[in-house]
């Protein structure tokens, strides 16, 4: 994919959130997107048509992250109210509230079978919650982190989380092993490459770092944007050819994966770009910002 195919044209603006939008995520097939923000709501959109479909209200404080099951039936969300909410998508009702985090919850993800939700909290812990049983107690608490856990990713067999203590830790369930990669810089957000071999970690020194998962080697560093004080997402494009991420000045950056050059940058928002999410198949991207809008970008 050449740089010209990057989604740099604004296709839609999704307005509705009052206040900062903290995350915007495509669903598994990329037909819908979910957003959440400081207005304590989660919103479901059709980004391609620019339609707001549904609003999920129940959170008591800002919603920091949301994730949807691959079958689009359930949502999981978390935020400042220290709880993880498990929602039914169609009815918009909260099925379960998982309490246990001692502080704000920064990120949450389903596993592949949507049977477990793993949340990462400011209380330096990862907690996994059982979505199958009626238990609201965490299945397991991982508290080897020494600072706030900012982001979590799940593979079929692993839990990967990035923390402000500068580590990206991989918990291999199959082997029963924890691999800790210390980057030396607070990790803001981690994102898996689509082939699953690399981790992209956004660090607070305004650098994205690409790690090889098997060896823990630092493959590349991506610089140019500003990321010093906000939690901002980064991700790889659907082809893994480029790396994209927001900047605190409202810009969105595209780097070449291999040579780390800034392929494209454009001003996407008036304020901090909190979240970027790339379409799983097409060249399409949604970005969310503190300015309260979500923008859909296409080629």
């Amino acid at each position: 994919m050449s740089a010209s195919d990057l989604p740099t044209k604004e296709a839609n603006v999704l307005k509705g959130h009052e206040g900062a939008v903290l995350a915007a995520r495509f669903n598994a097939d990329g037909n819908y997107c979910l957003s959440c923000g400081k207005d304590r709501t989660i919103r479901l959109w059709n980004p391609h048509r620019g339609i707001h479909i549904k609003t999920y209200k129940s959170h008591g404080r800002e919603v920091r992250d949301v994730h949807v099951t691959p079958d689009n039936s359930k949502l999981v969300s978390c935020g400042g109210d220290r709880q993880v909410f498990y929602w039914d998508v169609s009815t918009g009702r909260v099925i379960r509230k998982f309490r246990g985090h001692e502080s704000e919850v920064n990120a949450v993800k389903f596993n592949e079978y949507a049977s477990v939700a793993v949340s990462a909290g400011y209380d330096q812990s990862l907690r996994s919650w059982d979505c199958r049983s009626h238990s609201t107690e965490p299945i397991q608490i991982i508290d080897t982190f020494s600072d706030s856990v900012m982001s979590v990713c799940l593979t079929k067999t692993e839990i990967i989380a990035g923390s402000v203590d500068g580590t990206v830790r991989t918990f291999d369930i199959r082997v029963g092993r924890e691999i800790s990669d210390n980057l030396g810089q607070p990790v803001n957000c981690i994102s898996l490459s689509n082939d699953g071999n690399c981790i992209l970690a956004s660090c607070l020194d305004s650098t994205l770092r690409l790690l090889d998962r098997t060896t823990g080697e630092l493959l590349q560093e991506y610089k140019g944007h500003t990321c010093r004080s906000f939690k901002m997402d980064c991700c790889l494009t659907n082809t893994d050819a480029h790396v994209t991420g927001g900047s605190e000045d409202g810009y969105v950056y595209f780097w070449d994966l291999v040579d780390a050059t800034v392929v494209s940058r454009f001003r996407a928002h008036a304020s901090v770009v909190t979240s970027v999410s790339y379409h799983p198949k097409d060249s399409c991207m949604v970005t969310a910002s503190v300015d309260g809008t979500i923008r859909v970008w296409k080629t």
């Binding site: 206040g19 400081k38 008591g60 477990v116 299945i139 067999t157 500068g166 924890e178 210390n182 901090v272």
Partner: protein
Amino acid sequence: MDERDLVFYGTPIEREEELSSRKKKAVAEASGQLRTLPTWKQEVRDEEGRRRFHGAFTGGYSAGYYNTVGSKEGWAPQTFTSSRKNRAELKQQSILNFLDDDEKADLEGQSLATSTQFDTFGFTASEVARKQADKEQDKRPSAIPGPVPDELVLPAAESIGAKLLLKMGWRHGRSIKDSSTDSLYDARREARKAFIAFSSSDDTKSNIDGDANHVNDHSNSLERPVNDDNLSSQYTPLNALQPKQDLHGLGYDPYKHAPEFRAGKAGPGFGIGALEEYDIEDEDVYTTAAYDFEDTVVQEVEDSSKPITDHKHRLTWKEPGILPGFKVASISDYQVEKFNAPEVPKDFVPRHKFAGPLKVEDKTAVPPPPDVPPPEDSNMKVLIEGVATLVGRCGKLFEDLSREKNQSNPSFGFLMGGNGHEYYERKLWEAQQKYKDQKKLPLPSDGKSSQKTEKMNAENRGKILGERPLERSSSSLVSPDVNLQSNLSDTFMKPLQFSELPEVSKPFKDNSAKQERFQQFLKEKYKGGLRSGESGGASNMSEAVRAQERLDFELAAEALEKANRGQQSNLSAQQSMDFLTSAGMQFTSAGVEQSKDTLDKDFEMKKMYPKREENQWRPSPVLCKRFDLVDPYMGKLPPPPRMRGKIDSLVFKAEFIPVPRIGDKTGQNQNRSSGGLQSSAQGVRDGSADEEEDEVVVDVENVERPVDLYKAIFSDDSDEEAETSKVSKVEDPEKKVEVANATLNRLMAGDFLESLGKELGLEVPPDLPPYSHTNQNPSALEKETTGLNPRDGSSVKMVAEVPKSMDDQSPPRGKLDEVKVVKITEEDRKQGSPPPSEDRMDRRHSKRQRRYDSISDSYSSSSGDDSDRDRYSSKSKGRRKKGSSSRDKKSSSSRKHSRRRHHRSSSRSSRRDKDRGESKREKRKRRD
């Protein structure tokens, strides 16, 4: 008891049967009471006697006019007239019949209101305009929904009063008064003044008149408007740009009792729940102001009456020459008065004399010592200079002190006239000169004849500001033949002289212009003073480039300073200079804003990070299940939080008890041969676990219990035992235990293998066969299956898990290798084995059975039945061994196995029945 004797509180609950009585009552009431009561007190009740709810519109139990169809006036309709005598005329209805009074007034135009034309302050006009705008707003869609904000609507028309005034020459923002009144007033005042002056001459009248005048004056001053043009405008009423439309009183503050809602405090769009408080987390980190509440607080501005036009007006007034008919005065009354500094009388003797510095100053007359080259030793040089500076500043006293102190120190020889003394003298003199200069500046009049009431001249000022005097015009205080190095930059504390850095130290050699700017920069940086306008670079540079260059300079300067500070040897300085130069080149060429230092750091960082560490981690069984993965630890409990001996990390916590004991003993036996060890270990086992051995007997019955053995073994008992073990642990010195355990492990491994070999009747079992043989034994017994039972295999696997923590033990001895092989094959088999849960069930089953066997064996084994015992031990050992090896190949935990065996028995025994004690005892006896 009679009911009348009781006192009732509250309303009794009504029952069905009571209803009938109530009914009766109701009937009675209807007949009697109702007649007596006035209409408005009567209540409507149904046949059951309950109050009927009606008249809902008026809200209750009465309808109409007190439950009547009547009215206040009575029953008769007023409009009735007999049509017989007096035919009712046809009533003409008009709209007026249906209107209220005020509406009528409105309709008929009888209301009194200001018309737009005579709307002095524009209220009505603005009202009308707003209405109009609203109307328009309704008609066409607009970006702003809702009613038009008041601020946007301005009165359309000038009020008639304003129009009139304007016609009369009044302008907006002026006070409404004609100039003639002003002049009239002035004239009156003049006259009064004259009168007062006149009257004061003759005293007789003055009292009365004066008084009167005073009063008059006073009252006048009160009523008198401020005269000045600019001030007068303040009395103009504020143009009604923002007519007050709300009903709030003056000083109304909507946030008075809700300060948290005051503008800016609220997060974007939202607060949180009413019952929650704002925390740190609720701060708006993004600092968005998009959703602020509209600020409706009435700001009480002091000069709120000042019209907006006033500002402009004032501006024009201030500009000279613009006022028509005036020009700027050529002779001004206003003169800056200058005060000369007070002259100190000649005979003034300052009372406070400071011995040190003044004494030093007295020496000014002393001719300067000759300029001596500094001593070779740079350390010495630095020392001398330092001492000299200090002495110069603090006086001779310091010199004496330090001389006394450092009498024995050879490096201070210069104080005693030794090596470098001359140089010291010179430096001292220089320092004194310097210090004196500094002293003199703030005290220009300290009695010195040479500089009495010295006025600030260019040189002094320059010195104060840190300017470098021009070459030859240097201050007269220093004799021209003395070339004072330090004078160049002495007003500031930095003794470094960047201006005379060697050629080497010019980091921007390649770019002379840049170098020049760098010098300039250095000068400014270290000497202070005024920055020249183009401080950051050439004037033709862009802002960004300039900033960049400034950064470069800062870095270079820093590096330079560092180099200078560490200027022990010229060589190192040279090096650092070179280094700097290269760094500088880098800046200029690449424009990278990182200095070499930070680059280095970066590089280091890269080398250091990312760092990878691996740890053991136990996923919880449920998590594994949910992830659809095989639990690597097979649902075993995690090891205790603190890792003690390696043996402890065995799955069975129950094993903790004997560990310290065994450890202690074996720790002493470390050096023995393996055979001896075995025996010793055996002995230990026997000794330490007497009771446990006994308890083995007990288990026979337990087996029959339909208990989930797995669970029982792994969780319940271990909990109990863990507790006790902890207690015992505490007593033991941890370290010792650990060491002991390690050795124990090693020993056990050998011991186990050996015993296994013995039991199997093999030297060193080379392959799988021995293993399968051992396995086959029980399986054949139990299930009559031939060959290797797959279930058995799985059971082997299951028991096999030994936590990883064991794997740091000493490498297994040779014999364990084949165990590994066995294990591997086991694992291969495992691949095809049924899912874990089933597996486990089977395993449990088989285990139980086997245990049964073994236990029954153990009865006899104690009496010396070799074959039976063989079977038992080999079975259990073999299982375990395989397990441990399958877990991780390194582990040589055979030691554990043997121990584990009795552990298991102990755990089982913990569930023993008390009545088994007998048999136990019996057995023990037998063994003994």
